[in-house]
Amino acid sequence: MIITAKGISKSYKRGKGGKGFVQVLSDTDLSIEGGKVYVIYGRSGSGKSTLMNILAGILSPSSGSVSYDGRDIYSLSDRELSALRCLSVGYIPQMHSAVGTLTVRENILLPSAVSEKPVDSARADELIDLLGLTELADVRANVLSGGELRRLSLARALVNSPSVIFADEPTNDLDDECAKLVVQTLHASAQAGAAVVIVTHELFARSDADVVLCMQNSSLVREKG
């Protein structure tokens, strides 16, 4: 899959008490291909998460377009776009990683419930083993630690074998071993053909990336690849 972003701009209305708008992204272009790992970094509040959300079909841009294999996703109906997110996009959020009332396994299988695809329990079990969640499979998500939740998020993002994976600070607050496992798993997905977009502060994540992009002054600067 090829994702193309053209002339993306995004401005937010200032919060309560503020006046006017904040320009977060300005006329940004980007092309993402399957089989590669993209790392976007930048200081906090620079707009990297906003860009990722726009690319993932979660946040519509103020102007510009995002296409998946030539199809403008923001011209799709909400139902079509939701189906696209379910089938083609894996998303690892920074916060709110799980539905607390569900077990780890049920959380991982959530995308299968939404899509019309049959539940791939074998794939879920494989990811549970791979990410060291076997003993926690039947435990409710609301008792998991931050690291366990991050691994759960990763498993859920991969369960439908999506074409593109977006990860927002996937190694934040993780110990080295765990962070390494997460990054390795994301790289394995890229090797399997998925496009992987990682938003991170971590330096080590950049070294192995195929493409490194820095968010500066509301625009992307390509540093590598």
Binding site: V22, S49, T50, I58, V99, L102, E106
Partner: protein, 401 residues
């Protein structure tokens, strides 16, 4: 995992929240259903009584005291007897406007004779009767023989059972349908049977009558007024022309009861309205608060692929399931309170109660069920709308732009 399972997990996964909402729904449905059933039972009791009386005027001896005594006998099942000379019947024939008249004989069983408590024995003239026979048709259509008795619905005596009244063997040949009034605890017999019982009582030394023969007395006369005549005028004329009797218009006898019902009915209506409004407000507040609390969860579901419509359906579905369970629980609880404790409510309200039929009860249950199942999802509709339009990305990164 299916969407239905996700919905149920969301409900069972937050037991306290769900139980609190179930409780609110149960209170609302219980109040609507229970209130409606109590109101209908009381209203039925009054209607039944009105029909049961059958006559326009009842004449009793002045010595019977105030009309309340007869009212108590008819409404609350207070037992009693009184007699007046049979000649009253002949005098009533002379009153202009009296179309039909029928005499009745009252007697009270001796303690623990046939039943757990004293029961009212009412003897009626089968040839002239205008108030009892229509109610006996369903239970016993034949002519009552000597010592054959029809028992009220609340008495435990079974049809075919033989028991003794003042030493006389009597046979229960039928059982009346429930009327919700005091007559449910009475037994009915022909006037000859009751006269025989009065004699039997006298032979046992129980002075029911002082010196007269049972053949010379009656207890009350039920009068049907000829069409075109003013019932109040006929009542007044009887009171004026015939000494020692008191004529009471039957409708006036139940006016006090009907007034009481009217006050109670207004109270029940206000209570139901207050509970409904309060429940709706609480539901709105709770669902709105929950929507804020669960923003993150719903943002995650959006990212996973829930469309706005599906997310709204999830929120409304949760509210609907809770409302369905809560409404059913409320109806069940209200049924468990209203039906078995009907007699207690009747006693406390001092009003006759007659449970409505199964169709009416089902209708009230459906109204209560629908009221809750519409209010709950409506209260959550605003939350569903807001949640379906949340800024998913912003919530997932908690303010990091």
């Amino acid at each position: 995992m299916s969407i239905k399972k996700l919905l149920l997990k969301s409900i069972t996964g937050r037991p306290l929240r769900s139980l609190a909402l179930l409780f609110i729904c149960a209170i609302m449905s219980g109040a609507v259903y229970g209130g409606a059933v109590v109101w209908a039972s009381l209203d039925n009791g009054i209607s039944s009584l009105e029909k049961r009386l059958g006559a326009d005027i009842i004449v009793v001896p002045k010595s019977a005291g105030e009309k309340t005594k007869l009212e108590e006998m008819l409404l609350q099942g207070t037992v009693g007897y009184f007699y007046m000379d049979k000649s009253v019947s002949d005098e009533l024939d002379k009153i202009d406007g009296v179309e039909k008249q029928s005499s009745q004989y009252f007697l009270v069983s001796a303690s623990s004779e046939c039943c757990s408590a004293k029961v009212q024995i009412i003897g009626f003239d089968e040839d002239t009767d205008i108030s009892v026979k229509p109610w006996l048709q369903n239970s016993y259509s034949k002519r009552l023989g000597q010592n054959e008795i029809i028992v009220g619905s609340k008495l435990t005596t079974k049809v075919g059972q033989i028991f003794k009244l003042y030493g006389v063997e009597c046979k229960a040949v039928g059982k009346l349908e429930s009327t919700g009034t005091g007559v449910d605890t009475a037994v009915y017999a022909s006037s000859d049977t009751v006269k025989g019982l009065i004699r039997a009582a006298q032979s046992k030394g129980i002075s029911v009558l002082s010196k007269q023969s049972p053949d010379d007395v009656i207890s009350s006369v039920y009068i049907k007024v000829r069409e075109g005549y003013d019932i109040d005028e006929v009542t007044a004329k009887i009171n004026l022309d015939i000494d020692g009797v008191q004529a009471v218009r039957t409708r006036s006898m139940i006016t006090g009861t009907a007034d009481k019902l009217s006050v109670l009915s207004a109270g029940i209506t206000i209570l139901i309205a207050a509970v409904c409004i309060l429940s709706a407000v609480i539901m709105l507040v709770v669902f709105t608060a929950l929507a804020n609390e669960r923003k993150g969860e719903f943002a995650l579901l959006r990212v996973i692929g829930f469309s706005r419509a599906r997310l709204a359906r999830q929120v409304l579905g949760e509210a609907f399931v809770i409302c369905v369970i809560g409404a059913l629980a409320g109806i069940a609880a209200a049924s468990a309170a209203v039906f078995p404790f009907g007699a207690l409510i009747e006693k406390k309200a001092d009003l006759p109660m007659l449970s409505p039929g199964i169709l009416s009860v089902t209708g009230y249950a459906l109204i209560a069920f629908s009221a809750v199942c519409v209010t709950g999802p409506l209260a959550s509709a605003y939350s569903a709308y807001r949640l379906s339009r949340i800024d998913t990305g912003r919530i997932l990164r908690e303010g990091d732009s």
